[in-house]
Amino acid sequence: MIPAPFEYYKANSTDEALKLIRDFGEEAKFLAGGQSLIPMMKVRFARPTKLIDISKVQELRYISLDGDYIKIGGLTTHRELEKSSIIIEKIPVLAHCAHEIADIQIRNVGTIGGSLAHADPSADYPPVVLALNAVIVAKSIAQEREIPINDFFLEAFTAELRPDELLVEIKIPVMKPNEKAAYIKIGHPATGFSVVNCAVKITLDKEKIEKARVAFGGFVTVPYLDEKVGEFLIGKPANIDTITQASELVAEGREVIGDYYADADYRRHLAKSVFVRVMKKALEI
């Protein structure tokens, strides 16, 4: 399969990439790992006339600890995240999530920035970065801005990024000892993409739940933070009764995707039971 023709430009730095996109406007696209864009170009769902290759912009490939945040460069690959000793130690749920993505070959090239910008509702990162309350840093020639993750996923395949903006960094608060997190995906057996996925971050005050961020993807058109479930959990004892009761509220009032592979009722049911499993995993009960 052969993509439509395009002009190729290689950017060697963030500034170079931002200048190119400013000059070219919407006919150009960034090429990061290419693991979503190239397949789409091969079937001609995407036909950009200019590609700005950012895959060699080394300054956007890093993982560092800076005070209360872990900062991750937009071009960091899934495999780098899954293997990073900082991530494994400070935010193990993110290492686990990165490991769940596709296969070794895709993880060697695909990037976290590319995945988040692509905003596939069945991707692995969205519920995890939602639960972890990440901050997205986007940069254009004119400005740099921070986007809270709650405002980032707008529609299926649409994130809060302007066409001339590069996702340069993801900031994630370091987990504290009383914070517990977990992620589980039920992947489609052939494609591996999520039929349902769920991530939670629970803050404990002794035996009680002090704060809860519960996020879902896969079975809805936009990955989301389930505030009803989160609010229900607050102040309740961290036990199985609480979890079972909370599961009844999952996706309440939300439209659920149904398709050939898994209908909406099944996915809704699955989301509830995945939530129970994720909570048990996070709380180790």
Partner: protein, 152 residues
């Protein structure tokens, strides 16, 4: 456009379009047909090669992007007529039947043996997720890679 690719230590000067996928540059322009095209949709792993030691699917990368990197294909593994240990264990453990998936399996195995630590059977099977074999039922492939890991 003219590009320079370093494949198995040799330089190839190739004339490509920006949209030329790496696997076509390797097979049709450089003439190294050991790397196969199975699905052409990033799923089967038959096109796996190493770029700077990391396994990638060469049907899902543009050839221009591989400039300046070290590319290794299955032809680059044997040295002085001696099979690479992974090739040898595929042979000894019957890790292939028709052989179509084999170059991809072997190149992925190179990455696994270099970069992964948990090679217990259930994990090894998970690590092979990106490569499909229509013949062997995977058992002998798993055995071959386990075997090669002992040699290493």
């Amino acid at each position: 456009m003219r590009i320079n690719l370093k494949i198995n230590g040799e330089n190839y000067e190739l004339e490509v379009e920006p949209r030329t996928l790496l696997v076509y540059a390797i097979r049709e322009l450089a003439g190294l047909t050991g790397t196969h095209v199975g699905c052409d949709t990033s799923s089967c792993g038959a096109c796996t090669v190493l770029i700077d030691g990391k396994a990638i699917k060469s049907c899902t990368l543009f050839a221009v992007q591989a400039q300046g990197s070290d590319i290794t294909t299955v032809e680059g593994l044997a040295k002085d007529g001696e099979l690479h240990p992974i090739q040898r264990s595929f042979k000894e453990k019957h890790g292939l039947q028709c052989g179509f998936c084999t170059p991809g399996m072997i190149m992925l195995a190179c990455d696994i043996l270099e970069n992964e630590t948990d090679l217990k059977e259930d994990n090894l099977r998970r690590l092979l997720k990106g490569n499909l074999c229509r013949c062997t039922g995977y058992q002998n492939i798993v055995d071959a890679i386990s075997d090669a890991s002992m040699v290493k």
